[in-house]
Amino acid sequence: MTTELDAGTGKVAAKQAGPAPIIDARGLGRWYGEVVGLSDLTVQVPAGITGLVGPNGAGKSTFMKCVVGELRPQRGAIRVLGLDPFANRHLYARMGFCPQQDALYDQLTAFQFVEHLLRIGGTPSRAAKEQAAQALERVHLADAMHRRCGTYSKGMRQRVRIAQAIAHSPEMIVLDEPLTGLDPVARHQMRQLFEQLAAEGSSLLVSSHVLHELQGLTERIVLIHRGRLLAQGSVREIRNLLSQHPRRVKVRAQRVRPLALALAAEPDVRAVRWMDDTSVLFETTAPQALLERLESLVPTTQPGILSLEVDDEDLEAVFDYLVA
């Protein structure tokens, strides 16, 4: 997969190459009365682990509900594993869904809950029992699986929801904020589980509004905001493709003025902003070139550099930049 900047919107858009995407959404629109859930969202998600990120209210859950066929888009079209997802039982045999809402059958034990859902799906009784037990073991709930769900902590309930999504070994798993409510140990365990599932051949679409949760789990992210695709690709790809958008380099030096004057003449520098007597902020489309030029200027200008800061490339920074 590659990414590119959309000339019309100025945003980063995805371009698909290679095998057919597992999710192919084109021009999706979905409203709740006057509230926009999705607005002209076009995105293709390939196999593997994909992170779906966006602030609260961005449309992540709405998109996921469209993916799992809980909602039907009012505009556009969506295909998941090549199928129309809405109420499609053939798709559900190949897909697992962990919803965001903290809802379980509290009167059932975790084992009964997962087994019941497997049985509804047509799994024979003995196999359902085995699969339920295995899934609950994978989410580290083996010891507590015969306790009623109503007695579970929030983290345990989250793990039960993950278990029911993976119990039938689906080829695609949609996880809506799956790490919410988990303690650090459980988060680590679940991230390991997701990696294992991916290694076993499942594709995962994982949403989160806590961006660092996804960093490390996957390089491939889909950023949505206000129901629209903001960017898609790896964090680095997205950052590199923002070539028309400047990055910021902050220089602190004892004699910053001559340095600033020299660097301001560089062709990639779009703006120079004085912060105070010792600090200046450059906006450049080529931060590396700026740093190299700065290095070359040090012997002649003797600025007495105190510090250099380049806005980082992590997901949070990208996200902040794009959403802002």
């Binding site: 066929g69 809980e70 039982r89 809402q101 809802a103 059958y105 009167q107 509804i120 047509g122």
Partner: protein
């Protein structure tokens, strides 16, 4: 075939899980209310009298309540609890899910109400809590000075006397044992000696006419199936199906089914009443004057009409649930 297999599997699974639900036990409590009253009242009056009252109460109030409470399990409870996502993302046709779950709650409701109807019948024909009441019967005229029997209030035996032209039901003066006679002479208001006749206290009739209990149990079970279908079906289309269902059962049907005329045929109530009343001996419900002004279907006709309507409603619901989006609020 796969659809039917899935439907039956879902029905079986749902029945199993229904027994763990608080709602089931609440519905069972409501269903058994009539039976409990019948058992407590059994023997207090002739069985026919208690039976007719209890059966009408069952069909008009209890059956709709139980049906509506249990029917909401099918969809609306899942929507409210936000668990519907789990069942609607299973590899099974939504229609099979809907019909299978409705069948489970319908069968449970039918079992509860049919069972309660059977228990009600049994309660009215057996005096478990009290000794059977006595009805008085004139035995003969008594001569002045004939044997007197002291009245005993604790045994609840009534003895009546008659003043010529008096009201038999109202004029009573004391208590006697079954089979005993109680002659009395008392002057009337003009101070003339009255003719005295004797009364005997005899047990009330504790039997029911043939066919009445079967008609009652059948009507109750069928009512259960249809009232569960109403809430289950409403929950596909509206957010508060129980409120709409209660409005339908007690306001709309309450009016429609009690207005003589052909519009009665539009209510479930009229059909289940037809099963009960047409399937029982005519004298059983004579005291309900309103029923005397109505024309009821024969039991077979009522069942066939309900099955035809029910089949249509079920098909519509199965079609709608496959297309409906259930938007869950966070």
């Amino acid at each position: 075939m796969a659809f039917l297999t899935a439907l039956l599997l879902i029905c079986r699974l749902e029945l199993r899980s229904l027994f763990r639900s608080v709602r089931t036990w609440v519905a069972a409590g409501i269903a058994l209310l009539v039976a409990a009253i019948a058992v407590l009242a059994g023997g207090a009056a002739p069985a026919e009298r208690i039976f007719s009252g209890m059966s009408v109460m069952m069909l008009q109030i209890i059956a709709p309540l139980v049906g509506l409470v249990l029917g909401s399990v099918v969809i609306s409870e899942e929507v409210e609890a936000r668990t519907i996502t789990f069942i609607f993302t299973r590899p099974v046709h939504r229609s099979a899910l809907f019909i299978g779950r409705w069948l489970a709650v319908g069968l449970l409701a039918a079992g509860l109400l049919g069972g309660s109807a059977a228990l009600t019948t049994w309660g009215t024909t057996h005096a478990l809590v009290r000794e059977p009441a006595q009805r008085t019967e004139w035995v003969r005229e008594f001569q002045r000075g004939e044997r007197w029997v002291e009245a005993d209030r604790s045994t609840h035996r009534r003895v009546l006397y008659e003043v010529e032209g008096g009201d038999l039901e109202r004029e009573w003066i004391g208590w006697i044992q079954p089979g005993e006679i109680y002659p009395l002479q008392r002057p009337d208001k003009l101070n003339r000696p009255n003719r005295i006749r004797g009364l005997a206290a005899l047990p009330v009739d504790m039997t029911l006419p043939a066919g009445a209990s079967t008609a009652f149990a059948g009507a109750a079970a069928l009512a259960a199936l249809f009232y569960t279908m109403i809430t289950a079906g409403l929950s596909i289309f509206v957010k508060r199906p129980l409120i709409f269902g209660l409005g339908y059962a007690f306001a709309f049907e309450g009016l429609l089914a009690n207005l003589p005329g052909s519009t009665q045929a539009l209510s479930v109530q009229h059909h289940v009443r037809s099963m009960l009343i047409s399937g029982s001996p005519p004298e059983l419900f004579e005291r309900f004057r309103l029923f005397g002004e109505m024309e009821f279907f024969t039991p077979g006709e009522a069942v066939l009409r309900l099955l035809a309507i029910g089949g249509g409603v079920l098909a519509l619901c199965a079609w709608a649930v496959q297309r409906r989006q259930f938007v869950l609020t966070s």
